[in-house]
Amino acid sequence: MMTVPMETQILFAGVLFLIGLVGLLVRRNIIFMLMSIELMLNSAAMVFVMGGAHWGHADGQVMFIFILTVSAAEVSVGLALILQMYHHYRTLDADSMRKLKDHKANENL
């Protein structure tokens, strides 16, 4: 079996993480933003798995399961919130939420 060096593995995860990050920054649709976050979380989870494999114990895998569970919970709450948001604003555009800000300085923005 060909082993991929640690560096490459992490680089791969890092690229995944960056894709998620860039996606988060450039997408305005809140659902896509949420998905990008999931991507980031999963890339982190992947590093854990890789680490576990590298060091030869199960801790990484255990962590992976925790991350999956937690992100599932997060997404569920997130989706509920997004639903409410759509209910409220009739849009999923993240930039439409601009009521909370420093009003005096950002009056005309």
Partner: protein, 472 residues
């Protein structure tokens, strides 16, 4: 896991059992008062459980959790504050109609997350505690969904907090990949070997980002004002006190274990972050007319101050940090408590102008709020003064004169806006009608008042208390 270990988990178990029982209760019958009373009882029980396990500390539950003097102290603080927040929440939600009972359930879940954080000794518990806390907070922030701001605040917090979690997690993962360790001691030991490869550094920095986000340190502070403003006042209280306290606790534990203060680069970076936080927070607060945002900004500055103790890297520094944290918690309770008490169903009393004439309308609230603000500003006779004294002393003792100076300058800048709020309270307003205060409100105010003054005049009790716990 031994029986003893299990016993040591008692406080967490108590807190964890509460939501389950509540859910069952709600399925049977909805009664806000009952749930409220029950949550008070449970928090008291959690507090009591601390006394039960007190003889057994320190004890470790595997490598995941640790129950030592430090966590006992912070758990105690968290339970006390939660208790008061429950009272405040009750006063706050009493005006509201609709399904208010679940609020307390989530409050308990959030508290549970915070408790786990405080006792965490492992990346797993760290992560789990953090997420339990965060996810509960998403809900709490957006709880009053009919309000304009709530959803916005909730979504914003959701996104930013998730990003922060992702950073934290990725950082942990990197460190794990680099060291093969996930327990704090293990990581510390690995760090201690001196092989600080870029992987570990990057991991550490990413963790710092995640923690910095939760503590609202510059440049990870942007969310703070919006969330403080958008969340219901008691929830803002929770974020400002318990959430920050718990994160700070875990940060302190981790930071001291890895001897972060010995790393010069880290010290410089945290110093810069601290100074930036102080200035940014205070400058932003200067012209703020929304009281909740103002408190948010002020909290940014206060976290900046707190970093000084962290850098001291001594046990005194930790003591000072705890003292500061506790006095900050009491003070923040006072500030947000007043907002909660003054709030009405439609909106929170968050405009500073809402406080107009409070001195003549309701001197009791005004006095407590003034004291609170003075305590935040660090004026003698208040807890804030002693806390700042302790903090500056430890900072100066470790030679951080620049930080101390920057704290002094910032204290002066901060006076601008604290005084502005106080001034508003004694400017005359059209209606100078006195309004009544529910007994629970009086009790909260009295507690805050006594807390602030007691710590301000006789700090020895708390310092000795902290000292005795930390030496265990």
């Amino acid at each position: 896991m031994t029986k003893l270990d299990f016993l040591c988990l008692l406080p967490l178990l108590v807190v964890a059992s509460a939501p389950i029982i509540m859910m069952i209760t709600i399925t049977i019958s909805r009664n806000f008062k009952v749930i409220y009373a029950f949550s008070l009882v449970m928090f008291l029980a959690a507090l009591a459980s601390l006394f039960v396990i007190a003889p057994n500390i320190p004890c470790k539950i595997e490598s995941l959790l640790v129950m030592d003097g430090f966590s006992m102290l912070l758990l105690g603080a968290i339970f006390c504050v939660s208790l008061v927040i429950s009272v405040i929440s009750y006063l706050y939600f009493n005006n509201h109609t609709g399904e208010r009972e679940e609020y307390f359930i989530i409050l308990f879940i959030a508290t549970l997350g915070a408790s786990v954080l405080v006792t965490a000794n492992h990346f797993v518990t760290f992560f789990l505690g953090l997420e339990t806390l965060s996810i509960a907070l998403y809900v709490l922030i957006a709880y009053l969904k009919h309000r304009d701001y709530s959803i916005e605040a909730g979504v914003k917090f959701l996104v930013i907090a998730s990003v922060a979690t992702a950073f934290l997690l990725f950082g942990m993962a990197l460190i794990y990949a680099g060291t093969g360790e996930m327990s704090f001691e293990g990581v510390a030991a690995a760090f201690g070997k001196g092989n600080m490869n870029p992987l570990l550094v990057a991991g550490f920095v990413m963790m710092l980002t995640g923690i910095g986000f939760k503590l609202a340190l510059v440049p990870f502070h942007m969310w703070t004002p919006d969330i403080y403003q958008g969340a219901p006042a008691p929830v803002s209280t929770f974020i400002a006190t318990i959430s920050k306290g718990a994160i700070l606790a875990v940060f302190i534990r981790f930071f001291t274990l890895v001897h972060g203060s010995d790393n010069n680069i880290l010290v410089v970076i945290i110093s810069v972050i601290a100074i930036l936080s102080m200035f940014t927070g205070n400058l932003l607060a200067l012209k703020q007319s929304n009281f909740k945002r103002l408190l948010a900004y002020s909290s940014i500055a206060h976290m900046g101050y707190l970093m000084i103790t962290l850098l001291a890297g001594t046990v005194y520094g930790v003591q000072a940090a705890i003292f500061y944290l506790i006095s900050y918690m009491i003070t923040t309770l006072g500030a947000f408590g007043t907002i909660s008490i003054l709030s009405v169903c439609e909106r929170d009393a968050e405009d500073i102008d809402d406080l107009k004439g409070l001195f003549w309308k309701n001197p009791r609230i005004a006095v407590v709020l003034s004291l609170t603000l003075l305590s935040l500003a660090g004026i003698p006779l208040t807890a804030g003064f002693m806390a700042k004294f302790y903090l500056v002393l430890e900072g100066v003792r470790s030679g951080f004169w620049i930080l101390a100076f920057s704290l002094v300058i910032n204290s002066v800048i901060s006076l601008f806006y604290y005084l502005r709020v106080i001034k508003t309270m004694f400017t005359h307003s059209e209606s100078e009608r006195y309004f009544g205060l529910p007994p629970a409100g009086n009790i909260v105010l009295a507690l805050v008042l006594i807390g602030i003054l007691f710590l301000g005049i006789l700090p020895s009790f708390l310092t000795e208390f902290i000292n005795s716990f930390l030496s265990v």
